[in-house]
């Protein structure tokens, strides 16, 4: 892929007649643009944006629903050497408080020249876009009215220039903007497309993934541009409503490649009536890659069995925005390897001892594959020193496509990148040349693909006067129906009257959590004083208390 100097070159060279993006709305409504049509539209929009005063190096925030129009604006911006960033468009599932604080924080940090929104952008959210320092709001479509699509006077893009900013996942509006250069993106796509044996004459990608995350942006938008591969996409929110549409689309469009987070592998079969499982023909699928959440073999197997997918289709990858995208990829001819570890040593010492699969109390890990070319991984302790082989530690990476730093945040960059190694905050181990990711450092909860810190929730719950100060824990309990974690809170209350009146108390606390953090908790348990276990240092012992809770409420572990 290094034959291209920047990301617009492959678009210029793409065959005009080849379909590029098909946007699936439902079975009756779809639209497709070819590479040629897309190029024309993007050039026309670039010309208009240039007339508005957009120049190389300027940032542009794109706040539009997932659509061909949003992608056109992104590419038009890049054509001028300006730096676009997609932000999440508000939808009914986004909690308004969380969305507002995220929007105001992220837009302030980017200090963009333009914020491009669509005609339907909700008025009540407009006030949260940071428009300080001369940022201008533009309605999409107004920029495309240029009568004559022309080639904009494009500054020569350099490989080392910033191409765009993608945001890493994060809670409470602290999403970090990851600045990526043209060359880093091109190298990543070069490594990935070789590992996946991408063939533009044969492959077609399916995606429901949001464009503001790496899987949707890199694998399902940048890779199609650079490799000139067609992609069929739908809006993530439409997908959540109708996960069965994944099956309809792959079948109808004969898609060959898709990426999905772990929970989707169970969500789709569980939300599709079993009587219709056999109606779909997924034989066109070459690779379906489980990426972005810890991989569970059982989830992939559920999908494979429900829809009679060939086992070799199911693959894994470990990826993050800071590395453009993938660090590892399972060997597509063999599939991911599984490893059975002795549970007691793993839980108590983070030590990995191989045992037979049949051993009682063994834990099964599924590998995320081997390192892509020019990627290095180290497993390190909290001090940053490499841990001995056979132990779990934090995953640190170095590569030829690593990010330049968090945009405008040198403080965060120096925390994350130390001596040239990016410290991912993920825990894992290496075995037989493959990487196994076991979870998140810092007790992170992963709920529906979102990272949530228990400390944030505990702090808010503890502000209620009925709750004993500091005696709260928040934890995640795996919900096997949803394939993700539920947030469960335990709080001690001093007054026995509060215990008997717990409905009112619960409502008050729930609204505090939503008001401050923007997400809701699944269950709140009120307990008498001294119920929560404390460590010897006098701090609440989250994991021991969690075990006590599960013992007293076995229905939680059963997912009821």
């Amino acid at each position: 892929m290094l034959r291209f100097a920047h990301l617009i070159e492959p678009l210029d060279a793409a065959p005009s007649e080849r379909p590029f993006i098909t946007h699936w709305i439902d079975e009756d409504e779809q639209s497709t643009v070819t590479f040629g049509e897309f190029r024309q539209r993007a050039r026309a929009e670039a010309t208009a944006l240039q007339q508005h005063g957009l120049a190389a190096g300027d940032r542009v925030i794109i706040l539009m629903p997932q659509s061909i129009g949003a992608i056109t604006t992104f590419v038009a911006t890049m054509m001028l050497g300006a730096v676009p960033a997609f932000l999440a468009y508000p939808n009914f599932k986004i909690e308004p408080e969380k969305y507002r604080s995220g929007l105001s924080g992220v837009s302030r940090n980017l200090s963009a020249k333009f914020v491009v929104i669509d005609a339907d952008f909700p008025e009540d959210m407009l006030g949260y876009i940071s428009l300080s320092g001369g940022t201008k709001l533009i309605r999409a479509g107004t920029a495309t009215e240029s009568p004559q699509p022309a080639t904009p006077a494009r500054p020569a893009a350099h490989a080392e220039d910033l191409a765009f900013i993608q945001h890493s996942a994060g809670t409470t509006g602290l999403q970090k903007g990851v600045g990526l250069t043209h060359v880093a993106v091109l190298r990543q796509i070069g490594h990935l497309s070789t590992a996946l044996k991408i063939d533009p004459d044969r492959d077609k990608i399916y995606s429901w993934l949001p464009l503001y995350h790496d899987m949707g942006l890199i694998a399902c938008f940048m890779l199609p541009i650079v490799c000139q591969v067609p992609v069929v996409m739908q809006s993530p929110i439409e997908w959540v409503m109708q996960p069965e549409s994944t099956l309809q689309i792959i079948d109808h469009h004969r898609c060959t490649l898709a990426w999905m987070p772990n929970f989707a592998f169970q969500f789709i079969p569980r939300r599709t009536p079993q009587s219709r499982w056999a109606d779909y023909d997924l034989s066109s699928l070459r690779l379906m890659i489980n990426c972005s959440e810890p991989v569970r073999a059982s989830s992939m197997m559920e999908f494979q069995r429900a829809f009679s997918v060939r086992p070799e289709v199911l693959q894994t990858s470990y990826a993050m925005a800071e590395n453009v995208f993938a660090v590892t990829q399972s060997d597509i001819d063999r599939g991911p390897t599984t490893f059975h570890a002795e549970a007691r040593h793993f839980r108590s010492q983070h030590r990995i001892l191989a045992v037979a699969k049949s051993d009682k109390g063994s834990i099964t890990f599924t590998s995320s594959g081997r390192l892509l070319p020019n990627q290095q991984v180290r497993i390190v302790s909290t001090s940053g020193a490499p841990v001995p082989e056979g132990y779990v530690g934090e995953i640190a990476i170095q590569s030829d496509c690593l990010f330049q730093g968090y945009f405008n945040r040198p403080d965060l960059t120096s925390q994350a990148v130390r001596h040239g190694w990016y410290h991912t905050g993920d825990l894992g181990f290496l075995h037989g040349g493959e990487l196994y990711v076991v979870g998140r450092k810092k007790d992170l909860l992963i709920v529906g693909g979102e990272n949530i810190y228990p400390q944030d929730i505990e702090e808010v719950v503890a502000t209620h006067p009925a709750v004993h100060d500091g005696r709260v824990i928040a934890t995640g309990i795996y919900n096997s129906d949803l394939g993700t974690e539920d947030i469960v809170v335990v709080a001690e209350v001093d007054d026995p009257l509060s215990l008997s009146n717990s409905i009112d108390l619960e409502i008050e606390i729930r609204s505090r959590v939503v008001g401050s953090l923007g997400f809701a908790v699944r269950k709140i348990f009120f307990k008498p004083p001294k119920w929560i276990v404390k460590s010897t240092a006098g701090k609440v012992a989250r994991s021991t208390t969690r075990e006590k809770l599960l013992k007293e409420h076995p229905e939680l572990a059963a997912g009821i």
């Binding site: 939808n91 009914f92 439409e238 959540v240 409905i503 619960e506 939503v514 809701a520």
Partner: protein, 85 residues
């Protein structure tokens, strides 16, 4: 109140499983934190079933789902007649 709204209230009560909690068509559900975002998906699907309409999810905002009354108003505003299967 229509039968459909009553059915929706019954469905929400069943989902929340909180004896003693009274819900009517104007009870805030999203802004009060009673309903989490995963459950909202179920509510929108139920709304499609009760109104016999397809509701384009990408056009629905949280405020549109805050109360039972607002849910039905949203369905009237943006719902498309459902294709018979």
């Amino acid at each position: 109140m229509t039968t459909e709204k009553q059915q929706m209230i019954g469905y929400i009560a069943q989902l929340l499983r909180k004896p003693g909690l009274e819900i009517d068509e104007n009870t805030p559900l999203v802004s009060s934190g009673l309903i989490d975002s995963m459950a909202l998906v179920d509510l929108l699907l139920k709304l499609e079933e009760l109104t016999r309409k397809r509701i384009p999810a990408a056009k629905v905002q949280p405020k549109d789902m805050d109360t039972v009354a607002k849910m039905f108003a949203t369905a009237d505003r943006i719902g498309k007649p459902r294709k018979q299967l």
